[in-house]
């Protein structure tokens, strides 16, 4: 028996499957995105803030929201970074290739930002305030990955 051997127990193939309910507000958004490439946000009846992704409750006003408004598809970069270190995606167990752009888009008409990838073919054009448009996936399945990324258009 080696005194210097540190015993490690590994989780191996253990994983936890989940079926997360999206909720009706989110379901409407994902279905519009999938079927019509439209971004549907929701507007607070009290403070008039336009939220994306849509959700049931305005946290600030504590009221239920049901007025859907179309926003985008174009917008501006609210803020961003360029990721240069790789990590394992816990959902797939695979590393995403780096570098890639990651940012928060202010879709035209929305008051909150939409998180997604940003195309960085020309890094010099990636800046706060740059105009962007979505690049849709060819096959859309009703997730936020129906958008591949946002690309700079000015």
């Amino acid at each position: 028996m080696s005194d210097t051997e540190h015993v490690i127990i590994e989780s191996g193939a253990a994983r936890q499957p989940f079926n997360y309910a999206v909720g009706l507000h989110g379901s409407r958004f994902l279905q519009e995105l999938r079927d019509h490439r439209r971004f549907m946000a929701v507007k607070c009846p009290r403070c008039a803030k336009v939220y994306i992704p849509p959700r049931r409750v305005c946290g600030a006003c504590f009221v239920e929201m049901d007025e859907f408004v179309e926003v985008g598809p174009q917008g501006t970069i609210g803020t961003f970074t360029i990721l240069r270190y790789a990590f394992i995606d816990p959902e797939t167990g695979v590393q995403k290739p780096v570098p890639y752009g990651y940012g928060f888009i202010r879709l035209d008409g929305a008051d909150t930002l939409f998180q997604h990838y940003i195309d960085i073919q020309d890094e010099s054009r990636v800046k706060i305030g740059a105009r962007v448009e979505p690049v849709f996936a060819d096959e859309r399945k009703g997730t936020v990955k129906d958008i591949r990324c946002f690309r700079i258009i000015d």
């Binding site: 127990i9 994983r15 999206v22 507000h25």
Partner: protein, 153 residues
């Protein structure tokens, strides 16, 4: 529910949490597991304060909360103090049902060890039954270095 959502089909996002873990056993559990693997011997710790022998061993006595412990080998035979027999193949089960889970108080120990009993008709298992450990050489330094327990006769 409001009108704008009345006809929306509720969606479900199928996903998983797939984070790999590598738990350090630490020196205490590490010694227990290596002794199982290398010597097929089950070790416990005797608290020098309350004299209870704890199996599996702990660095700190669970009742006295002191680190004042002496390593001691316990028997590979013991008595069933509780058991259950899994009949439905629930997801956590590693073995095929029926699986007999048991708490076994090994001779020389004051606490009971959690493990499985095999090679017996589940209907014959009772509280108070005598069992002994069978070891596995392929499980490495893990709790499965005891592959299972069997009745003593």
């Amino acid at each position: 529910m409001n009108n704008s959502l009345k006809h929306i089909e509720p969606m479900v996002h199928h996903s998983q949490i797939n984070v790999p873990y590598t738990w350090w056993a630490g020196d205490t559990a590490g010694r227990f597991l290596k002794t199982l693997r290398d010597e097929q011997t089950i070790m416990g710790t005797r608290c020098n304060h309350c004299a209870r022998v704890t199996v599996p061993p702990r660095k700190t006595c669970p009742t006295c909360f002191t680190e004042n412990q002496t390593w001691t080998a316990v028997s590979d035979q013991g008595t069933v103090v509780a058991f259950s027999v899994a009949r439905r193949q629930l997801a956590a089960l590693v073995k095929k049902v029926p699986v007999i889970f048991a708490l076994i108080r090994l001779d020389g120990a004051d606490t009971a060890l959690l493990h499985t009993i095999s090679q017996v008709d589940p209907a014959e298992v009772t509280i108070g039954m005598r069992v002994r450990a069978c070891f596995s050489k392929d499980a490495g330094a893990t709790i499965m270095a005891i592959s299972h327990f069997v009745p003593t006769n």
